[in-house]
Amino acid sequence: MATYARPVERLITELSKLPSIGPKSAQRIAFHVIRGRQEDAFGLAEALREVKERIRPCRRCFNLTEAEECEICRDPRRDPSVICAVEDPYDIGSIERTGEYRGLYHVLGGALSPLDGIEPEDLRIAELVERVKVEGTQEIVVATNPNTTGEATALFIAQEVEDLPVRVTALASGLPVGGDLEYADEVTLGRAFAGRREL
């Protein structure tokens, strides 16, 4: 059913491989590119090429970087005694934007999930344990996603460093700030209730 010229079809096919882009969105984006200015399209192509050629995982924390080590790992102002373990590199951005955390990171590369065949060996858990030993880390803050697989991963990490002199903590889950209690969804509110604190 080749409705369009072959290069157009090819572009649509490549675009529809991207996450959350269906065939209709792919078609719309393709035609946007075709209608748009040439330098914009070449800019996009060049950006795609550059990111694949120059970006690699940091050898220490597996964050994305152009150098051997990422900017955060190289920054002398960061506190090297704390490591925050996250599932994906983009989680680092979320935490950095809070401006509240000054320690280092460790990108696990996902979460344990037997259903998807993801084992500890598929994640960078051994690398994390090794770092704790070598760097003398005092605290691991596990910031995996608050779902079954994320929480199981957190429990597993705690179990793996049980015998090391390191404290393992997890992020609290609870109410969004600035919202009204009335509008909080019941599950979140229920969790916040379970994790209430002394005043």
Binding site: P114, L115, T148, Q159, E186
Partner: protein, 372 residues
């Protein structure tokens, strides 16, 4: 104590293309021959107020055969005015419940009273709650608790997922694809969620039992009704039992201990009705469980749920029909379907709204009071 359904519009729902039905507080009797849509109307009410159908796990069946979406709109009367709720559903897509035009935070929250009123259903297939397998009884209990506690609904769903993960891990260990290193982790996660489910169920069964004793006493007789939750492992030894089952679980590739394997027994005068009850006893016990569920919702929320009972009169003798008619009349709202309006005495029908469903292209006519 006064929330009830005033009006329901069904668009592409089962055999209804676009119909609106008005309802009254108190008793509503839906009258019509078989296969004209009485049950579908009751199902639509449930769908409108909870966002899902209690009749079938294959939800796409509720969409009219040549259409690709359905929608229900309901007007709920509350003490402080009214509320308009709607549920749009296109198979394969997320359902979109709205309350006064604003999207509900989640389907779980909508189902747990987000519409402003809860429902208790009775469909003929519900007989399996007493007659059928433990899974049928667990489903009844989980649905009841979930309608009151969205956090329980979430925990139960997460528990099911965690057990799936553990089962897959067991098979991978058995077949040599995984080591046992992460099993302890998944056990902890499974137990953490399973404990929430267990606690919720045990508390609900304790609360339901006296309600069941009352309602079955009224429906059946003086023999004492009892509910007993039967554990694959009780709370105190659950974690230990799961650990001890590891070897056997790996061999079988499935988790043998936990609330997903539990049961509850309904007994009358000490006799388990699932195994030894007559068809009649099982039917009355199912009804009594539904009435107990009504009392439980009333106890937990201070509000009466709407009763939606499909074809409940035909299998009962006259004395029990009269008891039920009174029960429904005294409810905040009950919608009862029947092929034969004569199951209700004329004075009962005079105090009810009778909704007639006639053949041909389906039309719904509503009138107060009875004819004939």
């Amino acid at each position: 104590m006064t929330a009830y359904l005033q009006a329901l519009r069904m668009i592409n729902f089962r055999n209804y293309a676009d119909e609106t039905v008005l309802l009254s507080p108190g008793l509503n009797v839906v009258v019509g021959e078989n296969a004209l849509g009485k049950t579908n109307l009751l199902e639509a009410i449930s769908f409108a107020l909870t966002g899902s159908t209690p009749r079938t796990p294959k939800e796409n069946e509720v969409v009219r055969w040549d259409q690709d979406f359905c929608r229900t709109e309901a007007r709920v009367a509350l003490e402080d005015g009214g509320r308009k709720v709607a549920v749009g559903y296109a198979p394969g897509q997320k359902k979109r419940p709205t309350v006064d035009g604003v999207p509900a935070t989640s389907l779980t929250n909508y189902a747990a009273g987000g519409a402003g009123v809860r429902v208790i259903n009775f469909f003929p297939d519900d007989l399996r709650i007493v007659k059928g397998a433990p899974a049928d009884r667990r489903e009844f209990l989980d649905a009841l608790i979930s309608a009151l506690r969205p956090a329980y609904a979430r925990a139960a769903a997460d528990y099911a997922r965690a057990v799936q993960q553990r089962n897959q891990l067991l098979r991978r260990i058995r077949d040599g694809f995984s080591s046992e290193r992460t099993l302890a982790t998944w056990d902890r996660k499974v137990v953490e969620l399973g404990e929430t489910v267990l606690k919720g169920r045990v508390a609900a069964v304790e609360r339901l039992e006296p309600f069941l004793a009352d309602s079955l006493g009224a429906l059946y007789g003086p023999e004492k009704a009892a509910l007993r939750y039967s554990y694959s492992a009780p709370l105190e030894t659950y974690a230990e039992a799961l650990r001890e089952a590891r070897g056997a679980d790996i061999e079988r590739g499935t988790t043998s201990v936990g609330p997903h394997r539990d049961n509850f027994e309904v007994s009358l005068g000490g006799v388990d009705l699932t195994t030894y009850g007559s068809q009649g006893q099982q039917r009355l016990a199912t009804l009594a469980l539904k009435f107990a569920a009504r009392d439980y919702v009333r106890w937990a929320t201070g509000e009466d749920p709407i009763l939606l009972f499909d074809d409940v009169m035909s299998e009962l003798d006259e004395q029990r029909r009269e008891y039920l008619a009174d029960y429904f009349l005294q409810s905040v709202q009950a919608v009862i379907s029947t092929t034969n309006p004569e199951y209700f005495r004329p004075e009962v029908l005079q105090r009810s709204r009778v909704i007639r469903i006639s053949g041909g292209p389906v039309t719904v006519s509503t009138m107060a009071g009875a004819r004939g």
